[in-house]
Structures are given as structure tokens and as C-alpha cells.
Symmetry: C2
Subunit: 557 residues, 2 copies
């Protein structure tokens, strides 16, 4: 027969380390078989129930709940009677070091600190981060349970100030050789990372180290940075930093599943760096590469690709920048799957992109007879083939459309497939050649992806020769053709409104730590100057009073 | 000054080759600058307008519209006056060969034909295919513009009869060494393909040939086969055929973007073949492999992977088959991205799979405190960390959940991550080890994916040793751990209700061709016995009469 007793402390603040240590101390007491010390959120109450530590009382989510299960009533009562002493035992500052009580005092003590690490509970975190921004600092915001609105406000302000907010819910970063939060000990090296994913960054940096290479910087952004509301605020700043960082020769971008509409700007920024960049946005298509971008399938694949690129950097033609005029791709396909694959591989690289084989609703072409911006068209789709032979047999439709695109002053590159084999037209190249030559006369480059074998009845080599004589760039297979297309198109120019100074990436940065003491200890172990703030919630955690205090300091609203 | 004149022929049937040839003949006449001969669908009318061939009349979609633009009125009138003669010129049968007028007559002429190739216009195609099924044949259905309901009916009937319907809108196949429809000339070899994608199959087979290997069979399914309504009817039959085909040593499955709910059964069937299988379902995650399945990123990647697997086939442990009891994975993660990546990579391999980091809505875990079927849990999610340290620092939550899963009689394998580094728990392995040992006592295998470096403060080698002493299987990195997990889980048994006889894949099959004459010529050029049906629409194309005729023959309703 066991006895379960509990105790509630209303609206009191205790940090998570204190609660873990209290729970362990209670468990170590004689006659205690299990114990819990948690904030009484619905999930935590259910977790206690699962461990048969269901409390008799009904506390609220801001209350501390302490439960013990004991062999008998006396042991249980004895344990709960010691809670005060166990809690106060932890309160004494270790080693008698001077610890400022406020962020402002810490900044006076370590004015050179570029970074503030914030790991206080979620509901206090945005306030501390705002204060850090006010004091001119960059922020590593480990805390989770921060609202989306707070994240939007913080990142908008940081962008205006040219400061970086890594987080909220940022588990890891390596800045100037020092790991923030959770970070693996890895070699310094040529690979710089940006990650909307903590363990993603850890897995990739660890793999890079295992493969014998190393890390210049690893910039965390928080797991929501590539969501619609945040619109990649930190990611875009971080990519721009790595673009300017002379120690970064290869860039890796890792993210949890992003919102599709945020991917385009991130990919455009990555392309604008001109540095070889590995993109691993979880859930997005992988494989292949266009211009400087390489799409990795897995975290380990991303690491291997980055190491390979750092050892054997590809040479890139400098890109032109678009300024109106000829800037769009027009893909005119006879093969439906080739059109799909083209949409799939280019949808985030060329924006906006429209198609009659759209993958996302916003890509749907309004009128298949008129191209808009970048357009990929399957001319073998059902609408086009009523009473008409497939475009692999009859080139009339494709030739007419080619002429139409050639007359469009926004067309920069035309992409065609040419599928050879049994059943197909005996000499498609000769029928397409005049229209390709006409497009060339307008300054439009035509790229042709040929699908076929040397044994095909049309004779592969002759088809290629005919196309090349008409001025087309001919590639065997789709991948090589897509690479050529993207390299031939001008880049869209983009820029960050206020640059984050490169000095945020300086070697062994001085830091101020607010929250989990373990993080300060880890920074000190890495030889970084660190001041730990002996933080307590303002106004004892009273939300109303906190609001008044914040407004007085001008850090909110 | 040019003159445009047009002519309408109401409700008449002409096949697409005839129309293409009429248009070309008109263009060749003196004084004609452009010409069109098309069925007057809305899209075709717009296409004529784009070529400045807008007709004066308003014909309906079943009418034939003939338009010419000429230098003067006389040339235009002269051209239109020759239409009848140009159309009839084509009507004479070439070379005086005997051509049956019906499918039934063709079957009497070539009773051994296992295949009927159908390329008549869409609205007649389902009727011809139904008749072919009634006559015991398998069907290559090239025609497009066939309704989804007709496809459902055809494939359901074929499945009951143990017959194969490749299509509708099936562009290509290679059966017993003979290309149907559009097909590249490729070497024979060990690689068998299934494709819900015509040019996808052509691109992969061409690449395989270019890489020096060859094709056993390439079975088309039609582009909609992996849509919800069709539910992979033909694909599942085709995979089962390739499983039994002794000449197929490696399988490749290619598809246009599938409906997500159809992917699971296809992947399960592929796994059940036991043969190395390359999966390239466009738009689905690529990279990595589990058991016999390898996920390709691009069409060319699929070809390269297949060739490599055929040259160096991996050895596989024979799989157990699940029969209730211990059969589910329980993944308990401290790293959110590792949990995401696990859902991403296993979601179609292990079904049903639930998670608190679901990628699709149907994967959402009802209650994060209770596992259902295969479950992947991020224990660092916001709900779990209110007032509690992250599971990388505090193992209490994970140990309790581990014990809970160990008590579940359906748990077969537990997957844990162990993320080392600065900031993390100094010795997580020792805290997890007792619960891993307890799970092992219930016959549950625990697999641990370790993320870390040799320089990490916890000492990687010691952590691994501690875990292994507790009975866990330890892998560095997630990929290797996922492979181990899938290999350890029992397979779900599946089977095809009525097997398609392997004889459909016999060498150089005899075929009956209904529709485009060019396909018969191509079959003959490949030394296949072929009878071409001199097909005309039943009842002159009158839909009401056609319905009555079909019911009399018992091929509809």
C-alpha cells in the first residue's frame, strides 16, 4: 500500500533546473518511490497521472505542483516538509562570484559583449530579448513557448537595427568558434551553416567533423523562421552574413519543413551569395543542382555534399542581374513528366513560375495559350490533344507556340524536350529548327533536352547536329538542360535593408547569459568571456506589474 | 491583304493523322499562307485565333473545322474546294493488305495476340478497351481524354479477370522486347520498370541504355494510376508481375506526383517483392534506403541507382511477416528535426504512422501521451517543456515514456536519438540504460541514433559502450538507425486477388492495333506479329446508337 501526497505553490517562479533538482532530491529521500515537481499545465498533470502521481488538488497552469508517492503517510509528509529547505539550498550563488541582477548591470560589467543568451521561461523571454536589443546586443534566444507575435515583433525590430535574433526555440549555434546552447565540439573550417532546426544543425555539423572538415559559423534561426508569419527574417540576414564572411567558402541551409511561399526568397538569397550552397529544406525535393545551389536529400547527404564542394569548388560564370526586359523561361514540352519534373526542380529557383501541370495551386496558369512570367507548358496535356496528334508525332502546335514565345519581349530562354524513339516523329529536329533560328534572331537562347538512345530510329547524333546548326544548346537528358537554363537566366536582385555588421561573427565572442546556468558554465569551458545574470522574473512574475515596468523602460509597445 | 475562309463538317469522325495530313496538303497548295484542320473544341478555336485563323462560323466541339488563309479569295476558295479529294486520297488502304474491320475479326485472324493497342479518340476508347477485355486480351490504352469513371470501371474489371490495362493516356511500354506506342530502342537486361508516366519511363529506360545496362520489361500504367480514385490498380498488378518475372532482378517505379494515400500500398507491394527496388515518385522525398527500397531524386538518378543495384545486388535478410502482436515502431526523440526527418522518411514505409510533428494532417497523434500504431514523438516539443528542462538535459520524461512503451504488447522496436555536445546532459546513456534493458526483457529491440563527435564532452565511445551493454543497437547518425529499424520490423502481408499470368510478358508478343496506323508500322518494324484494325467509330460516331450497340454486346453497364 502506497501513499501519494501533494503540495501546490500558487503563481511562484522556479526555474527548470531548480525543479529537476528538487524532484531528484525528493526521490533520494527514505521511503519515497516516485516524485514530481512541475508547473501544473494540462500536459504535465496528465504526465503525472501516467506515472500514478495524480494529485488530489486542481492547481492552475502557473502553479508549482509537488507530488510524492511513498511507502507510508509518514515518509510522504516528511518529504513534503523538506521542500522549503531543498528549494533554498539551491538558491545560494556558487563560488561567491559577483553576479549582476540585471541585464543592464551585466552590460556595464562586460560592455564588449555582442551577444546575449536568453533561456528564461517562455513567458518572460520576449521581454528579456527586447531589452537586449535596446542595449544594442544580438540575441541567442533558447527559450521556447514564445508567441509568434512576439517573434514577429522581435525580428522586425532586429532587422531595423541590423541585429540578429537567433530563435526563439533556438537550440544551437556556433559563433566565432564558440558553441551556444547545445553544440557539438567540431573543427573550425570552411563551411558556414544556417539552420531553422537545432538537431538538424547538430547532425550536419557533427557529420562534417566526422568527415574531416570543419565549420566557420553555424547560425541558428529558431524552428519557425521559415514559417509564413516570420518570412525567413533571421535566415535572410544569416545568409547575407555568410555571403560576406571571408572564412565561409561553402554554405549549408537546413530547415524543418518550411512554408512553401517562404522558400523562394531564401533560395534567391542563397543564389545571390555566389558561393556553393547546399540546400536541405526538409520535405522539399532533393537531387540535382542549379547554378551554385545543390539540393540535399538528408542531413548526412547535406554534410557530405558540403565537404565535397569545399574540397573541389566548382567554377561559376558570373550571373547577370535582371532589370526588366528579357528575363523569363518558357518551357514547351511534349513529355508530361518532363514538364512536371521541370516545375518540381525550378519552382523555388525561378519565381513566379506558372504551369498547366502546376504542383501548387498558385502556380496554375490562367490561360494555357498565353505564358505568364516563367512558364512551363505540357503541350501533350488532354486539352491540347482533342482531334490532334500528340506533339511527339506532330510538331505543328509546338512550332506555333515557339514562334509566339519568340515574339514576346520578356522571353529570355526557351526550353524544349525532344523525345526520340519508336512511334515518334521521324525527324522532329528539322521541323523545330526554323523556329529556333527565328527565336535566336530575337536574342533568345533555346535549350533542348534530348531523350533517346543511339539505336533510336531518328539517329540521335543527326537530331543533335540539326538542332545545334539552328543555334540551340543541346543536352542529353533533362538535368543537364535545366542546369544550362538556370545559368543562362539573369538573377533577380535582392538585398537586406540594414546589414548586420560582420563583427557579430568575431572569434570567441564575449557573452551575457540570462537563464540556464549550465549554458554559462559551458561558455566559460570554451574560454569565452561570460557574465551570468542572476535573473529573477520582474515583479516576482506578476504579469500586470511586468507590463507596467516594461512600458516604463520603453522595451514594449 | 489576305483572305481567311473556313468550312465546317458537322459531327463527322476523322482520325488525327488524317487531319494532320489534310492541313499539310492545304498548306502546300498555291497561294495558301496558313491552314488549320481541327476538331472545334474551345482550346482549338483559341489556338486558331492565336494563328490569325479565326473562323467566321461558330461550330461545336464535335465538328470538324477547316480554315485557310490565302493571298486572295480565289486561292482560298480553290483550296477549300479540294478538301473532299484530299480527304478521300488518304482513305485508300495502303499496299492492299487485308485489314479486318472489327476487333473480333482481328482476334480470329491472330488468336494468339495477348495484347490490344488502342489509340482511337478518347470518347471511343473505353468501349474498345472493354471489348478487348471481353475477348480475353490485355490492353495498351494510348488514348487520352478518357474519363476517370471509365478508367475505374476498366481497371476493376481487368483486376477481376487477371488482365492488365496499361493506360489510359499510356504513352509507352516495352513488353517482351517490343516497344508499344512511343518507346526508345534499348538493350534487353535485368531492370524491370513500372511507370505512371510516359516520358518518365522513356527518360529512365534511355538513361539505363546509355549507362550500358538494359530492360527486362517496362510496364506503363497511365498517368492517373496513382490518383486516389484509381488506387494504383495497374501499378500493384505490374509490381506483382515483376516480382514473379525471373528476368527482372531490379525494379524501378516511376510516377508523376501521386496522391499521398496511394503511396503506402505501392511502397508495401514494392517491399514485398524482396528485389532491390528504386522508387521515384515525383515530388516525394528522396535519398537514403530502407530494406530493399532506394529512393531516387531524379529520373537520371533512378537510372543510375538501378544500374548500380543490378551490378552489385545487396544481400537482404528475409523479412518476418506481421501477424498481430509486436509489430510497431515507437520513436522517442529529444531532437525535433530528427523526429521530423524520421516521419518524412518512414511515413510511406510504416503505415499507419502517427506523430506530434505530423507532416500530413492524417498523421496527427490524437494524444501525445499515448502511442498509436507506429508513433514518432518529439519530446522536446513546446507542450512538454513548460517548466521542464529540454530532454537533452533531463532524461526523466524520456525514461518514463520508454518504460510506458516497454509495457505495450504492440511495441516491436523503440528508436531513440542521443544528441551529445556542449549544454547537453553529461551522461545520458547511463540514465537511459536501465529502461532499455527493461524493454529488452520484453523482447523489444531498442535502436539508438547517436549524434556527436569524438571531441564532445560526453565522450562518444563511452556513451556507445554504455548503450550497447544495455542491449541497444547503436548507430552513428540517423540514416543508419532508420535502416536498422525498418529491417527489424515485420512486413505487413499483402496480395493481388487474381494474378495476371506471367505469359503476358512473353518474348515478341503478337498484338492487335486499333487506331493510329503508325503504331502498327512500328510494331511490324520490331518483328512483332501485328494485325491492324481498319477501325471506324460504331454507328458513325453517334453516341446514342453507340450506347445501344454496346449494351447489345454486353461490354457496358
Amino acid at each position: 500500500m502506497s501513499v501519494t501526497l501533494s503540495q501546490v505553490r500558487k503563481g511562484a517562479y522556479y526555474d527548470s533546473v531548480v525543479l529537476m533538482q528538487l524532484q531528484r532530491a525528493l526521490l533520494a529521500l527514505p521511503g519515497i518511490s516516485d516524485a514530481g515537481a512541475v508547473m501544473a499545465t494540462p500536459v504535465n498533470l496528465e504526465l503525472l497521472e501516467a506515472s500514478e502521481l495524480r494529485p488530489g488538488e486542481q492547481p492552475g497552469p502557473d502553479d508549482l505542483l509537488i507530488v510524492v508517492r511513498a511507502d507510508d503517510q509518514e515518509a510522504a509528509q516528511n518529504a513534503l516538509a523538506q521542500v522549503d529547505e531543498l528549494l533554498s539550498r539551491r538558491r545560494t550563488a556558487p563560488q561567491g562570484t559577483f553576479r549582476p541582477k540585471s541585464l543592464e548591470a551585466a552590460v556595464r560589467q562586460l560592455p564588449d559583449a555582442a551577444w546575449v543568451l536568453v533561456s528564461v521561461p517562455g513567458r518572460f523571454a520576449a521581454g528579456v530579448a527586447q531589452e537586449a536589443l535596446r542595449l544594442g546586443k544580438n540575441v541567442f534566444l533558447y527559450s521556447d513557448n514564445v508567441s509568434v507575435q512576439d517573434e514577429v515583433d522581435l525580428k522586425r525590430r532586429a532587422a531595423d537595427l541590423g541585429r540578429l535574433i537567433m530563435g526563439p526555440d533556438c537550440g544551437t549555434a556556433i559563433i566565432g568558434g564558440v558553441g551556444f546552447g547545445f553544440a557539438n565540439r567540431v573543427r573550425r573550417g570552411p563551411i558556414g551553416l544556417v539552420g531553422a532546426s537545432g538537431t538538424g544543425l547538430q547532425a550536419v555539423t557533427s557529420s562534417i567533423d566526422t568527415l574531416g572538415s570543419g565549420i566557420s559559423q553555424a547560425i541558428g534561426t529558431g524552428g519557425r523562421d521559415l514559417h509564413t508569419e516570420i518570412a525567413a527574417g533571421t535566415t535572410l540576414q544569416a545568409i547575407d552574413l555568410l555571403r560576406r564572411d571571408p572564412d565561409t567558402r561553402v554554405i549549408v541551409i537546413v530547415s524543418k519543413p518550411p512554408s512553401p511561399e517562404v522558400v523562394g526568397p531564401v533560395v534567391a538569397a542563397a543564389m545571390a551569395t555566389g558561393k556553393p550552397t547546399v540546400v536541405n529544406l526538409i520535405g522539399l525535393p532533393a537531387g540535382g543542382h542549379v547554378r551554385n545551389l545543390h539540393f540535399a536529400a538528408t542531413l548526412e547527404d547535406a554534410a557530405a555534399l558540403a565537404v565535397r564542394l569545399s574540397e573541389d569548388p566548382p567554377t561559376l560564370e558570373p550571373a547577370q542581374v535582371a532589370s526588366g526586359g528579357r528575363r523569363f523561361l518558357r518551357g514547351l514540352f511534349s513529355g508530361g513528366t518532363l514538364a512536371y519534373e521541370t516545375v518540381l526542380r525550378l519552382q523555388y529557383v525561378l519565381q513566379p513560375l506558372f504551369s498547366n501541370v502546376a504542383i501548387h495551386p498558385w502556380q496554375a496558369l490562367t490561360d494555357p495559350l498565353r505564358s505568364q512570367a516563367h512558364t512551363v507548358l505540357d503541350l501533350g496535356a488532354d486539352t491540347f490533344t482533342v482531334g490532334r496528334l500528340h506533339p511527339m508525332m506532330d510538331n505543328d502546335l509546338r512550332v506555333r507556340r515557339l514562334r509566339q514565345e519568340a515574339e514576346d519581349p520578356e522571353t529570355s530562354v526557351i526550353l524544349l524536350d525532344l523525345v526520340l524513339g519508336e512511334g515518334a516523329h521521324p525527324d522532329p529536329a528539322s521541323e523545330l529548327a526554323p523556329a529556333i533560328r527565328q527565336a535566336g534572331g530575337h536574342g533568345i537562347q533555346t535549350v533542348v533536352a534530348v531523350i533517346g538512345t543511339e539505336s533510336d530510329p531518328q539517329t540521335l547524333a543527326e537530331q543533335v547536329a540539326t538542332l545545334e546548326r539552328s543555334g540551340a544548346t543541346v543536352k542529353i537528358g533533362l538535368e543537364a538542360a535545366l542546369e544550362t537554363v538556370v545559368a543562362a537566366l539573369p538573377l533577380e536582385a535582392r538585398s537586406i535593408p540594414v546589414e548586420v555588421p560582420l563583427s557579430v561573427l568575431d572569434e570567441t565572442p564575449a557573452t551575457i547569459n540570462v537563464g540556464l546556468e549550465g549554458f554559462a558554465e559551458s561558455l566559460a569551458a570554451q574560454n569565452a568571456h561570460v557574465v551570468h545574470v542572476d535573473w529573477r522574473p520582474p515583479a516576482g512574475g506578476d504579469e500586470r506589474l511586468m507590463g507596467i515596468l516594461a512600458r516604463m523602460k520603453g522595451t514594449q509597445g
